[in-house]
């Protein structure tokens, strides 16, 4: 199986991989660096990479001007809330599709995925009007519902692939042992699928955290998450790169840390089922 790879080759590919990773990571790095510059240094040409006057001033101003914690709190509530509610629907759905498929189950799955191909702006007006008429604009409940619906297809798909890996006979054994459907899901299916469910949760928390289109369109203040916090720094008064960067850094920091610690789970989650 393992082919002998010469050391030089391996060094070359390692360097190449790091180079690509650096290119991908560069915008984030640049944002973080810019957040420590003065507004003057931030727009300096040619750009200063590391040798500028490091300052925390931007963070102070951002913290003074807007309540980071409220935005962050909203982000946490929206990301976790939408993921938890989606799981409550997705676990039974994926269970049904994986273990009691009908003739149209595959079509249904494809159709669900196809909704992700529609540009969201196509649904903006109707959803905006529904939100307005039902007084859901700028409410956490409303945004949780939208984010949940948005990510539901992905969550169901991910869980479906995980559940497919679980032998159906084990669930049947639970049924023979007298377990009701609820208990079968709770005591047998869910514990067996814990790794899959964990990576599903992680990925969807990240997706919900980063979701900008709907959160920007449907919130203003009370339910506004960190995406709104960032956007508020790209204002009509002009662009303040350093402050915008400071806000962005504060917004992405929690999810970056989460992603860093969970990267093993995430990679496993995304490739699960593809490689046996």
């Amino acid at each position: 199986m393992a082919r002998a790879v010469s050391t030089r080759r391996r060094m070359f590919f390692t360097a190449f991989a790091w180079a690509i990773a650096f290119v991908i990571f560069f915008p984030i790095l640049w944002t973080i660096l810019t957040s420590f510059k003065t507004e003057g240094d931030a727009i300096e040409l040619p750009p200063k990479f590391l040798f500028f006057q490091w300052t925390l001033e931007n963070y102070g101003i951002v913290q003074e001007r807007s309540n980071y914690l409220l935005f962050a709190f909203n982000s946490v509530v929206l990301a976790l809330g939408s993921t938890i509610f989606a799981l409550l629907i997705a676990i039974p759905s994926a269970w049904a599709m994986a273990f009691a498929p009908g003739k149209r189950t595959k079509d249904l799955l494809m159709w669900m995925l196809s909704t992700k191909m529609m540009p969201p702006v196509g649904a903006l007006i109707p959803i905006y009007l529904i939100f307005r008429d039902f007084h859901l604009l700028d409410t956490r409940g409303g945004i949780i519902a939208v984010l949940m619906l948005l990510n539901l297809p992905i969550i169901i798909w991910m869980l479906y692939t995980y559940f497919k890996e679980i032998p159906g006979e084990i669930l049947e054994a639970a049924r023979m042992d007298g377990a009701s459907i609820g208990k079968e899901l709770l005591y047998v299916l869910t514990p067996m699928a814990i790794p899959g469910i964990a990576s599903t949760i992680l990925l969807n928390v990240i997706l919900a955290w980063n979701e900008a289109f709907w959160t920007l369109s449907l919130t203003t203040k009370d339910a506004a998450p960190l995406t709104q916090f960032i956007a508020s720094y790209s204002s009509p008064e002009g662009l303040f790169w350093a402050k915008l960067s400071a806000a962005s850094t504060m917004a992405i920091a929690p999810i970056l840390v989460l992603g860093w610690f969970a990267q093993k789970q995430l990679v496993r989650g995304l490739t699960f089922g593809a490689v046996k």
Binding site: K103, P167, E169, I170, E172, A173, A174, R175, M176, D177, G178, A179, S180, K183, Y187, V188, P191, M192, I194
Partner: protein
């Protein structure tokens, strides 16, 4: 108690009819074996009894109660699966106890029952292990332990030994039979292996294309097969079928001679098992025959032999393959 009555039970998946209509009465304490080639519907019939598949028609009555629409959990049956289907995230102890927990039994009672089942199956030392830390035979025992601990009305076995190697299979076969004797419970056992069927069953149900071909004790099926299909399926090596499927004679019911007899033939191949020798004989216009000789037999390939069918051991069949008696 554990009587199970199938009343015109049928099952189709879409347009595909798996079981057209089966009637069967299983007595309390009986060891009954469903046997047939793969795809004959034996597993489906078992799953219908278990409640894991919905009936397309007919009724299933368990202990006098119509169970046709009951979910598996309400039928009071236990099942041992081919893949064992143990809960991989639970210890052996919790695997065995799961059914009792679902039934809401008090903890001390569960512990006592699990301990007793484990002792019966020599699993006491393994109670805290996970299924993945066990050998195939041990996993099989856990699956059986999970079944006996609930004291079900009947046990359902779905090809439970087919994942074990040959030696272990014989041991487990004996263990299951001993279990049946000591528990006296009704057992329904599905297998494609006619040797398992013959050795274990009180009565055998031979299935073919979803139909019950014949129901009877092992020796009834062996001595008086109702059809060509049963005649060919029961017995090893297979019965010789001659003269355009109208005559059948088992390899062990042909007397061999090196000098004279009714049928003449040339030995093509000899299989030496030590205790027996199976000869594959070209009998001219009668076709190829298999003959069993007890012990060692001196004639090898190319040699001439004569065969004489034992009196009353010839089976006759009509054009539809039904036995003529």
């Amino acid at each position: 108690m554990g009587t199970i009555v199938l009343n015109n039970v049928s099952k189709s998946f879409g347009d595909v009819v798996i079981i057209p209509g089966a009637d069967l009465e299983i007595r309390d304490g009986e060891f009954i074996v469903f046997v047939g080639p793969s795809g004959c519907g034996k597993s489906t019939l078992l799953r219908l009894i278990a409640g894991l598949e919905d009936l397309s028609g007919g009724r299933i009555v368990i202990d006098g109660v119509d169970a046709s629409d009951q979910p598996p959990s309400k039928r009071g049956l236990s099942m041992v699966f081919q893949s064992y289907a143990l809960y991989p995230h639970m210890s052996v102890r919790n695997n065995i106890a799961f059914g009792l927990k679902m039934a809401g039994l008090p903890k001390p009672e569960i512990a006592a029952k699990v301990a007793r089942a484990a002792a019966t199956l020599n699993l006491t030392d393994y109670l805290d292990r996970k299924p993945r830390q066990l050998s195939g035979g041990q996993r099989q025992r856990v699956a059986i332990g999970r079944a006996i601990v609930r004291q079900p009305k009947a046990f359902l076995f779905d090809e439970p030994l087919s994942n074990l190697d040959a030696a272990l299979r014989v041991n487990m076969r004996i263990e299951i039979m001993q279990l049946h004797q000591s528990l006296g419970a009704t057992m329904i056992y599905v297998t494609h292996d006619q040797v398992e069927a013959m050795t274990m069953a009180d009565r055998i149900v031979v299935l073919n294309k979803g139909n019950i071909e014949q129901l009877g004790s092992p020796l009834e099926l062996y001595n008086r097969p109702d059809s060509l299909f049963v005649a060919g399926f029961i017995g090893s090596p297979k019965m010789n079928i001659l003269e355009n499927n109208t005559i059948g004679i088992r390899p062990e019911h042909l007397a061999l001679s090196e000098k004279s007899g009714e049928w003449e033939g040339t030995v093509m191949l000899a299989e030496h098992l030590g205790s027996d020798t199976y000869l594959h004989v070209d009998a001219g216009r009668r076709g190829m025959l298999t003959v069993r000789a007890s012990g060692e037999f001196p004639v090898g390939p190319g040699g001439k032999i004569w065969m004489t069918p034992e009196k009353g051991r010839i089976h006759r069949f009509d054009a539809q393959g039904r036995a003529i008696r």
